[in-house]
Symmetry: C2
Subunit: 216 residues, 2 copies
């Protein structure tokens, strides 16, 4: 019986990528079981016993507690291991960071994730550009909002909130990665790019990157 | 200068409705400024100074702190007023409740909210059923998931988590209201309906209902 955290995730799932970043930032050992979403492994009965919703990620804690939904997992990790907090310590700061994370997790990601993209493709057979236009529209709305919020206050540090990376950065970096994978141009979003660049230099973010995972 | 909370919201916005429920459950006095989304008041410069994202709700605290994103607001209220907690006190319970809330706030609501519905309408001019089919597809996926999670464990009480209504119920009730407004049949979701019915008997939920708001 493993005494470390186990992620049930997927290599390119950005919600899973958030959790990998969080575990590395907190220095918590873990292993990951990579589900093949293309083959429907998230829909299989064995995974549905862990998460009846059939979505990744799910985190199994050393004591057996199962937590699903990536932001709930980040909060759970902070409450379980308060030594290296992902959230700021002050209430207003925590609210700002949660709000930034939810712009990504509630307003950008759900409208552009795989199940919705696939459905748009199916709704417009023969129209190769339909999926790309859909992605571009909602990515623009989302990154516009994120950049606006990030630049609303100045002097907020190197990362999303201050000079220590955390909860919101763990959401921003996978969304920037997604933008790159789908060819969405982030040139207009200088603050977003600066934060992603700062994160990219850190070992925790490098270790969590989809390109640096090894299947055991 | 008001010394109570001020919601910048909209009458039928379910994210705003969540915040109204939370304030009533905690017994906190507030006033609400109702924006007319149909007239684009959320897009106006005056509101963008409060929330650069141009989405409702935004909550202004008595000390002037502005919090956006409905779940961030619920956490902020709990951290500011720990007397009547919306979240359970134990870590595993908090994780379960946050996960339930995020099924609604991240997986159901964003794919079916007004901006996406309107876009689907525009993508299928002349096809009166397109919007309804879109709504039904994602509502079904979402409520299937929610019902599965709610029935994964038994003996979890009258509400989403235990016998005290809170954080997840504040998300469930507006989504059930939305389902009613858009004609989505909740008959197959007996646990969801039982929770919504239990909430509907409580003064806090009645006071927060869109039909019971008065414009000042």
């Amino acid at each position: 019986m493993a005494k470390t955290y186990v992620i049930h995730g997927a290599l390119r799932s950005s919600a899973t990528y958030r959790v990998r970043i969080a575990l590395h930032l907190k220095g918590l050992p873990y292993s990951e079981i990579f589900l093949d979403l293309g083959r429907g492994e998230h829909d299989a009965g064995s995974y549905r016993e862990i998460n009846p919703q059939g979505l990744v990620p799910a985190l199994v804690a050393p004591d057996g507690t199962i937590v699903t939904q990536s932001l709930a997992i980040l909060d759970y990790l902070d409450e379980s291991h308060p030594e290296k907090l992902l959230l700021p310590e002050d209430r207003a700061g925590r609210a700002r960071v949660r709000s930034l994370a939810q712009i990504i997790a509630c307003d950008i990601h759900p409208v552009n994730n795989m199940r919705v993209r696939n459905h748009i493709r199916d709704l417009f057979p023969g129209d190769d550009g339909a999926q790309g236009r859909w992605m571009a529209k909602w990515s623009k709305a989302g990154f516009d909002a994120l950049e606006a919020r990030l630049t609303q206050e100045t002097d907020t540090g190197v990362f999303c909130h201050g000079d220590r990376p955390g909860y919101a950065d763990a959401c921003l970096v996978p969304q920037v990665y997604n933008a790159g994978m789908t060819g969405f141009d982030l040139a207009p979003y200088s603050r977003v790019r600066a934060i992603a660049d700062a994160c990219a230099t850190l070992p925790a973010f490098r270790a969590a990157h989809p390109d640096n995972q090894t299947f055991k």
